[in-house]
């Protein structure tokens, strides 16, 4: 938009411009950068295009044609129907499981991270520094490294092969907690809390009516991270669950893919692809819907008011 407005002015001034030709509002166009961006865009979109094209093929077309061209028939709808009905509709069950893990796991993680991050940022209590150091340390430990100890622990509790084995570990998000802590320091002024206290509001009321609203962009950011992490969670459910009835989509699709090998091989590559396409649709939708919160969350606090 700014370039469109600025362009005519350049023309009238010709080359006698005293002001620099390029400003923040009308940056210099760089061919190299545009090409680089184009490259990144292609890098991100080609796999998606590939997935869409191949999800529309029958298995026979998959085996005969070129990967980035459509096949002889457009079987997307057929594939979708078969994906949902294959093996008594197990895909729908996996979708439901994934939603369950996301709602309880990621939802719970967001709630806990928000409460704890806010508490750490706004209340002084003994051991706060030690507590905070532990959380910072926890961010550095990758979840994959904890998968085996977690498995053995849950096995002692006889919780493996139950939804709890996925939900409970998902509830902990040290990084989310840290984000909320930073965000609270930036966007919830002490004066506001003091004013509310003088007016006689209790701490819970202050949190839910004032702070939570100020924190909304931060909460959405944390929720988004948690939802994506839980939705894509693969390794933990892989080792925790042996009953396909509790699989999330990630592990379930892998099982379908593995079906193409061994003594009783029954390849269903077309359903694996269509299933993958269906699996990313909700997460793409969540991202698009929540991104404006996210953007405002990222930029808030970047300029001191």
């Amino acid at each position: 938009m700014p370039t469109a407005l600025a362009a005519p002015r350049h023309r009238t001034i010709h080359h006698r411009a005293r002001r620099p030709r390029h400003s923040v509002a009308s940056p210099r166009k760089s061919l190299a950068l545009t090409l680089l961006m184009g490259l990144f865009l292609a890098y991100a979109l080609v796999p998606l295009a590939w997935l869409f094209i191949n999800a529309s093929k029958t298995q026979a077309d998959l085996f005969s044609g070129f990967g980035l061209a459509f096949g002889d028939s457009f079987a997307l709808w057929d594939n979708i129907v078969r994906t949902f009905t294959y093996d008594d509709g197990i895909f729908l069950r996996w979708l439901g499981n994934t939603l369950l893990y996301v709602v309880l796991g990621a939802g719970g993680a967001t709630l806990l991270a928000t409460l704890a991050g806010y508490g750490l940022a706004k209340y002084a209590f003994p051991g706060r520094k030690a507590y905070f150091a532990v959380i910072l340390g926890a961010i550095a430990v990758p979840g994959t490294a904890l998968a085996v100890p977690t498995f053995l622990l849950f096995s002692e509790l006889e919780l493996t092969n139950t939804p709890w084995a996925i939900i409970v570990p998902s509830l902990i998000s040290p990084f989310g907690l840290y984000l909320i802590w930073v965000y609270t320091l930036e966007s919830v002024p002490k004066e506001l809390l003091e004013a509310a206290r003088i007016d006689g509001a209790g701490e819970m009321r202050i949190f839910f009516t004032i702070s939570a609203k100020l924190l909304a962009p931060g909460i959405v950011t944390v929720a988004l991270f948690a939802v994506v992490a839980t939705w894509n969670n693969y390794f933990l459910p892989l080792i925790m669950l042996s009953d396909p009835n509790w699989y999330p989509l990630t592990v379930g699709l892998n099982q379908w893919s593995e079906q193409a090998s061994g003594v009783a091989a029954e390849p269903i590559f077309n359903l694996v692809l269509t299933g993958s396409l269906l699996t990313i649709v909700p997460i793409v939708a969540v991202f698009i819907l929540l991104q404006r919160f996210w953007q405002s969350g990222l930029s808030a606090g970047s300029v001191k008011g």
Binding site: Q59, A60, L62, F63, S64, A147, V148, F151, L152, S155, E156, E158, T160, N161, L238, I239, S242, D243, P244, N254, Q255, S257, E258, Q259, A260, S261, G262, V263, A264, A265, E266, P267, F269
Partner: protein, 441 residues
């Protein structure tokens, strides 16, 4: 892609957990050790609930037929993953001490590993050793590991499947010896550089049966004493032969079971396969483009004497964690020895391990259109009678197979010397075996 993924999982989790499993052998509280044959019928009468892990397509139908016959028993069929995925889950459950099913499908090559983790019930106590005459010698040998640790379900005597249309187009004859085989591979690839007689990108589940067929007996297992010699005469014979295929580039570098592989079978890029006798059913079910073109022949031989090996195949075993091992054993007896159950298994395209079914005229007489009306089972049954004896797998074969790509696999990618790759594999296996507490020599 799938090899890498599977290897990552196997390489990390079970390696860590299997250590625990072997170390923890003694402290599991074992169920009442002594059972008797009478227990089985009593258990069926009494009834109960069983969990059965399998990836066999006929699993559900067999369980349904069983419940129809024994209404007091409820069987929950769970597909806990195909092959190595299931072993990961199973090994984890064994290590953790809970979560294992009552009955599980285990491939012959992996059985030894679960026996040594003390995970399986010796079915001899229930008199199931008496079933031996029902099975082919090679499948019984695979479950009779110092105790009867499973009952054979299917078998996979190796045969050669070839695409007659491609053979006709390029004027190839069916090779009877390995020398003719290499010559045919050369002729085809020279005539059309895009075509290959076969594919092999380094697959332990393929190399070992070929070593077996060549007379190699690289592993000797006696309790915790393990001998590994991947340079014995037979193993070298195979490696020298396969070098003649690998080094000039006569093997299509396509991993078996990959999407590319299915594609190559469909469009005739790969003109023949050496595989278990279960493969014809899979071709017919999943490569519809090949209808009418494929045929089955014996595996080429080194000296004209027909010899073959077992490739794949599974047994079902009862887990020690089972709350009712007698009931589990009774279900297993029905599953893998009753004609009703085996009939369901055959309907789903399985290749049996029981001599009665293999010998029945109904079985040998089938002449599917897919194979141009050839009586393919005659070839397969003949193969099942020519399986060489005496081949043993390692007690950590699942791990061994998972590191095959790192060692022998390197020779495949460089088109180098397979013998060097085998030596590297041997070194890796010796180190692992010793770390696991085996006496390796």
């Amino acid at each position: 892609m799938s090899t890498l993924k599977r290897r990552t999982v196997i390489g990390t989790v079970p390696a860590a957990l299997a250590t625990g499993a072997l170390a923890a052998c003694g402290d599991d509280t074992e169920p009442a050790a002594a059972g008797s044959p009478e227990d089985l019928d009593a258990a069926l009468e009494r009834g109960g609930k069983l969990t059965y892990w399998t990836w066999t397509p006929s699993g559900e139908a067999q369980a349904a037929a069983f419940t129809a016959q024994y209404p007091n028993v409820e069987v929950e069929v769970v597909n806990a993953g195909t092959a190595t995925d299931e072993y990961t889950a199973l090994q984890n459950a064994v290590a953790a001490g809970s979560g294992a099913p009552d009955v599980a499908q285990i491939e012959y090559y992996a059985l030894q590993q679960f026996v040594l983790s003390d995970a399986l019930v010796d079915l001899g106590q229930y008199g199931l050793a008496d079933l031996e005459p029902q099975y082919t010698a090679s499948t019984w040998a695979a479950v009779d590991l110092g105790g009867v640790y499973g009952l054979p379900q299917d078998s996979g005597p190796m045969v050669m499947l070839y695409n007659q249309a491609v053979f006709d187009e390029f004027g190839l004859t069916v090779p009877a010896t390995w020398d003719e085989y290499v010559a045919a591979a050369e002729a085809l690839h020279t005539a059309d550089p895009n075509r290959f007689l076969t594919n092999d990108a380094g697959d332990p589940g393929f190399a070992q049966p070929l070593i077996w067929q060549a007379g190699g007996r690289p592993y000797t297992v006696d309790g915790t004493n393990v001998g590994i010699d991947l340079q014995d005469e037979g193993t070298r014979r195979w490696a020298d032969l396969w070098n003649r295929m690998l080094q000039p580039g006569l093997l299509a570098p396509i991993p078996t079971w990959s999407d590319d592989w299915w594609k190559a079978l469909s469009n005739g890029t790969v003109a023949s396969l050496i595989s278990g006798s279960w493969m014809p059913g899979i071709l017919e079910g999943s490569v519809p483009e090949g209808a009418g073109n494929w045929r089955v022949a014996p595996v080429p031989s080194y000296d004209g004497t027909p010899v073959t090996a077992e490739n794949g195949g599974s047994a079902q075993s009862v887990l020690k964690q089972s709350a009712d091992p007698a009931l589990a054993a009774a279900f297993l007896r029905w599953l893998n020895s009753s004609p009703e159950s085996i009939a369901v298994f055959l309907e789903n395209g399985g290749f049996p391990s029981t001599t009665a079914e293999l010998a029945s005229p109904e079985f040998t007489g089938t002449a599917p259109d897919y194979f141009g009306g050839q009586k393919i089972n005659e070839v397969c049954v003949a193969a099942s009678e020519n399986v060489a004896t005496g081949f043993q797998y390692l007690p950590f074969q699942v791990y061994a197979n998972s590191v095959f790509p790192d060692t022998v696999g390197a020779a495949y990618t460089e088109q180098g010397d397979l013998n060097a790759g085998l030596e590297a594999w041997q070194e890796s296996l010796e180190g692992y075996g010793e770390a696991q507490g085996f006496q390796v020599n």
